[in-house]
C-alpha cells in the first residue's frame, strides 16, 4: 500500500514505535522524542518531503501527554528533473511524538528543517511547549501584552470567551525585531496597514540607503481564536460555515478542506456530482482571486488603467459565482457528506458563455500588459525567491511554482474530481514578481479549462449522501485543497458529542511568510509593497480568529470621543459592560 516504502525507510533510520493508518494515503509513525528532529529531517531532505503542517495537541485526557504531529507531504524534492516520487507513491507521512506534561520540552526540528520555525513558535504560544534549540523563540500569534503563562489552546487553560485585561500603552512590551548589525542601518516601518491589501501587518525594513538589507515582520494582529471557538461550541454543521470565514477570498477552499478532513476521518465517500461541483466552485474562486492579485500588482506599481480592466473582467467571475451558487461569494454550501445546492442545466449553459468571455478578455488584457515596457521593468528581477530557499521553507502555491518547482496539490495529491480532470501545472522559472504573475495568468487559463471539463463530465448522481454516519472520537485525518494561494491543509481530530477535539487550520500564506524576508533582501523600498503583494498574502487567513458576545446580545454605539479616549489611554474599556 501507499506510504509503506517511506515507513520502512524511516524504520531503518530511527526506531518507529507504532504505525497507524488514517486514510489510504495518510500514515502516522510514532517516534521517540529524541528521534524527532532526525526523523523529520530524513523524510524532508532524504526522502523528498515538504512540510505540510504541524499540529500540537493537548491529549492529556486521552493519553496523559501532549502530542506533536509533523505532517510531511511526500512528493519528491523537485529541485531538478526527475527528482520526484512516482505518482502512485505520493502520500502524507505524519511523524508523531508524545511530550510529557512534566517537562513540556522537545528537541527543536528548526535547525535541521527551517520550514518548522513558525509552527514551533506557535506551539509555544498556544500550548506552552518549549522547543529546545529553536533559534527564534519570540512570540508569533499572541499579542505582546498577553499574560505570560496563559496558553489558550490547552484544554484547561481558559473559557473561550475569556479576554485578559489589556496593559496600559506604556506598559506594553516592545516587540523585539531581529535587527541586522552594522552602522548606517535605517529602520523603515511599513504598516500597520498594508497599502494594497488593506490588512494589518507590520513590516520593519532595515535599509542601507534605498536598499533593503533585511526585514522582519510582526503579524497576527487579527487572530480570531477560531480553533478554540470550534472546539468549544460548534458542531459539524456549523463548522463548515466558520471555516469559510477564515478567509474573504479562498473561503470555499477552507470549507471543503475542513469538511473533507472530517469526512476522511470516518472514511466517508461523497457522491461524484458533489465532488465535481466542489471543484467548479473552488476553481471559480481561483479565477477571481488571481484576477484580483494581477490587478493589484498593476495598481501597486501605478498602472491604474490595467488594474481597472482586470477588475472589469473579475466582475464576470463574480457573476459566475452568483449564477451557480446564489451569492457573489461561493459560501454556505458545503456540509458533511456533500453539498446543499445543485446546479441546473440552464445555469451550466449560461456559465459556459461567461467562461468564454473571461477567457478571451484575459488574453487581451494580459497581452496589453506584457506590451507595456514600464510595467515589465517594475516586475522583472524584483523580489526573487531562490529555489533553495523555497525548498527549505516549504513555500506553496504560485510563490513556489514561480521559482520553478512543480508543486501543486491538485497534481501531487489529486482530491475529489481532479482524478478525472486533465490540466497542466503552471511552472515558471525565475522566482521574481513577473514569474509569479505569469504563473497566475497560466492558472487562469487552466482554471477555465478545468471548469469546462467538469461541466462536460458532470456526473448524474445525488449531491449528498444519506447522513447516517457515525463520528468516532479520537479519529483524525488531514485534508488538503489547492486554494488560489497554495494548499490549505486542515486537520481534524474528532471528539465526542458531535464536536471536534482539535481543529488545525493551516492557510496557504502561513507557509509563505517565513521566506518573505529573503525575497525582500537587495530590493529597494519602493518595491517592498509590490513584493508583499506578489505573495498574494492573506493576513486574516493566516491569523484565523474576534468573538461577539452572543449570549448577552448587548451592543452599543461608541461616540467618537469615547473611542478616541479609549485608544489613547486603554482605560475603562467601553466594551467591558458588554461581557
Amino acid at each position: 500500500m501507499k506510504c509503506d516504502i517511506f515507513i520502512e525507510a524511516l524504520g531503518q533510520r530511527v526506531k518507529v514505535l507504532e504505525v497507524t493508518r488514517q486514510y489510504e494515503d495518510q500514515v502516522t509513525a510514532l517516534v521517540e522524542l529524541n528521534d524527532l528532529p532526525e526523523a523529520v529531517r530524513f523524510l524532508y531532505y532524504d526522502m523528498g518531503g515538504y512540510l505540510s503542517t504541524m499540529i500540537p495537541n493537548d491529549e492529556r485526557e486521552i493519553n496523559k501527554h501532549f502530542a506533536l504531529y509533523y505532517v510531511l507531504s511526500m512528493e519528491g524534492g523537485k529541485m531538478f528533473e526527475g527528482d520526484e516520487v512516482a505518482q502512485d507513491e505520493k502520500c502524507f507521512v505524519t511523524v508523531k511524538t508524545l511530550i510529557s506534561p512534566d517537562t513540556l520540552t522537545y528537541p527543536s526540528v528548526t535547525p535541521k528543517v527551517p520550514a518548522c520555525v513558525w509552527y514551533e513558535r506557535e506551539a509555544y504560544d498556544m500550548f506552552g511547549l518549549i522547543a529546545e534549540g529553536l533559534p527564534d523563540k519570540r512570540r508569533l500569534v499572541l499579542s505582546d501584552d498577553w499574560p505570560d503563562n496563559l496558553h489558550p489552546l490547552r484544554k484547561d487553560a481558559m473559557d473561550y470567551r475569556y479576554r485578559p485585561d489589556m496593559k496600559e500603552h506604556y506598559m506594553e512590551p516592545e516587540f523585539d525585531f531581529l535587527r541586522p548589525e552594522g552602522s548606517g542601518v535605517i529602520d523603515v516601518p511599513l504598516g500597520p496597514l498594508h497599502i494594497t491589501a488593506d490588512e494589518p501587518g507590520h513590516f520593519r525594513l532595515f535599509c542601507d540607503g534605498d536598499t533593503i538589507i533585511d526585514a522582519d515582520y510582526r503579524l497576527f494582529y487579527q487572530h480570531r481564536g477560531m480553533e478554540k471557538l470550534a472546539e468549544n461550541r460548534m458542531n459539524y454543521d456549523q463548522m463548515g460555515y466558520l471555516a469559510e470565514r477564515v478567509c474573504g477570498i479562498c473561503g470555499y477552499a477552507h470549507a471543503i478542506a475542513c469538511i473533507e478532513s472530517a469526512e476522511k476521518a470516518i472514511n466517508l465517500e461523497i457522491p461524484a456530482r458533489a465532488q465535481a461541483i466542489r471543484i467548479i466552485c473552488s476553481e471559480i474562486e481561483r479565477l477571481h482571486s488571481h484576477l484580483l492579485n494581477i490587478g493589484l500588482a498593476c495598481e501597486v506599481t501605478g498602472n491604474y488603467n490595467a488594474f481597472m480592466h482586470i477588475f472589469r473582467i473579475r466582475e464576470y467571475s463574480m457573476k459566475l459565482a452568483e449564477l451557480v451558487t446564489g451569492g457573489r461569494k461561493t459560501y454556505g454550501n458545503v456540509v458533511m457528506g456533500g453539498l446543499r445546492r445543485d446546479m441546473t442545466g440552464v445555469e451550466i449553459k449560461e456559465s459556459l458563455q461567461i467562461l468564454n468571455i473571461i477567457e478571451a478578455q484575459v488574453d487581451e488584457v494580459w497581452d496589453a500588459v506584457m506590451d507595456d515596457k514600464r510595467q515589465m521593468r517594475r516586475w522583472k528581477g524584483v523580489g526573487i525567491l531562490d529555489k533553495q530557499v523555497a525548498r527549505d521553507f516549504s513555500a506553496v502555491g504560485p510563490n513556489i511554482r514561480g521559482s520553478g518547482i512543480k508543486r501543486d496539490t491538485r497534481y501531487d495529491h489529486p482530491y475529489d474530481f481532479f482524478k478525472q480532470v486533465k490540466f497542466d501545472v503552471a511552472v515558471v522559472e525565475g522566482g521574481d514578481v513577473f514569474a509569479r504573475e505569469t504563473v497566475r495568468y497560466l492558472e487562469l487559463k487552466s482554471s477555465v479549462s478545468i471548469i469546462r471539463q467538469c461541466f462536460e463530465m458532470m456526473p448524474q448522481t445525488a449531491i449528498i449522501v444519506d447522513p447516517k454516519f457515525h463520528v468516532k472520537p479520537e479519529n483524525y485525518a488531514l485534508a488538503y485543497v489547492e486554494a488560489p494561494r497554495g494548499d490549505n491543509v486542515h486537520w481534524i481530530m474528532q471528539g465526542s458529542a458531535q464536536k471536534v477535539f482539535r481543529w488545525r487550520c493551516r492557510a496557504a500564506t502561513y507557509n509563505n511568510w517565513p521566506s518573505l524576508r529573503f525575497q525582500f533582501r537587495g530590493n529597494t523600498i519602493a518595491d517592498a509593497a509590490l513584493i508583499v503583494c506578489s505573495l498574494d498574502p492573506c493576513y486574516s487567513c493566516t491569523e484565523r480568529v474576534t468573538v461577539v458576545d452572543v449570549k448577552s446580545k448587548k451592543s452599543k454605539i461608541l461616540t467618537n470621543k469615547d473611542l478616541k479616549n479609549f485608544s489613547r489611554t486603554q482605560k475603562n474599556s467601553p466594551l467591558k459592560d458588554l461581557r
Binding site: Q238, H309, E315, E322, Y331, E347, V365, D372
Partner: protein, 179 residues
C-alpha cells in the same frame, strides 16, 4: 499602454447606473430571508437550523408572547431556514441592500405569536398557531372523529405534563385505550 486604451474604447462603459436604476441579480440569488408573519406557526425549526444564531424563538419576559426574532447582522445567507420551514414562512429573497446607518436595530425583524398555555400546569409552552397547525394536519390524516376530539385536549397539554401523566398512569396501572 496604447493597447489598453484601445481595449477601453472597444468595451466602452461597463458600469451600471445603480442606484438610479435597479440592479438585477441572478435568478437563484440568496438574499435577505423574507419573513411572512401570517404563515409562521412558531415551530422554531428555523431557530434550531440557523448555524449562526441569527434566528431565535423565545418567550418574552412576561411569558405571554412567543417572540420570533431575526437579526440580519448575524445572517450568513446559507438558506437553512428556508429549507426547514414547514409552511414557507421564511424564504430567501432577492434583497441585497442591507446597509443601515448607525441604528443597528433596523436590522432586526420580530414576530410576536400568541402562546398556548398548558391546560394542566397553566404554563406557556408553545404557540397557538402550532397547536392549530398540528390539529389541521391530524384532521387531514385518516384519523377517526373520536380521536380527533381527544386531540383537541391533549394538544393543549405541555410535554412535561404529558410525561407526568404517562408515568402516573403507568405506576397506578390505569389503562388508556388508543383507537
Amino acid at each position: 499602454m496604447m493597447k489598453l486604451l484601445d481595449i477601453s474604447k472597444k468595451y466602452g462603459d461597463t458600469t451600471h447606473k445603480y442606484p438610479f436604476e435597479p440592479y438585477h441579480v441572478a435568478d437563484n440569488f440568496r438574499g435577505k430571508p423574507a419573513y411572512i408573519f401570517d404563515l409562521c406557526i412558531g415551530c422554531a425549526a428555523c431557530g434550531i437550523a440557523c448555524p449562526s444564531n441569527a434566528i431565535t424563538v423565545q418567550l418574552n419576559a412576561e411569558q405571554n408572547k412567543l417572540i420570533w426574532e431575526f437579526d440580519c447582522g448575524r445572517c450568513i445567507f446559507c438558506g437553512r431556514c428556508d429549507e426547514v420551514c414547514p409552511t414557507g414562512a421564511i424564504r430567501l429573497s432577492e434583497e441585497f441592500e442591507l446597509a443601515v446607518k448607525f441604528d443597528k436595530s433596523a436590522l432586526i425583524q420580530r414576530g410576536e405569536l400568541e402562546v398556548q398555555c398548558c391546560t394542566e400546569c397553566k404554563k406557556p409552552f408553545t404557540a397557538k398557531r402550532l397547536v392549530q397547525y398540528s390539529f389541521d394536519c391530524l384532521s387531514k390524516a385518516n384519523v377517526s372523529q373520536n380521536r380527533l376530539e381527544e386531540a383537541k385536549d391533549y394538544l393543549r397539554v405541555c410535554p412535561t405534563c404529558k410525561k407526568n401523566a404517562t408515568v402516573s398512569n403507568f405506576t397506578t396501572g390505569k389503562e388508556v385505550v388508543i383507537e
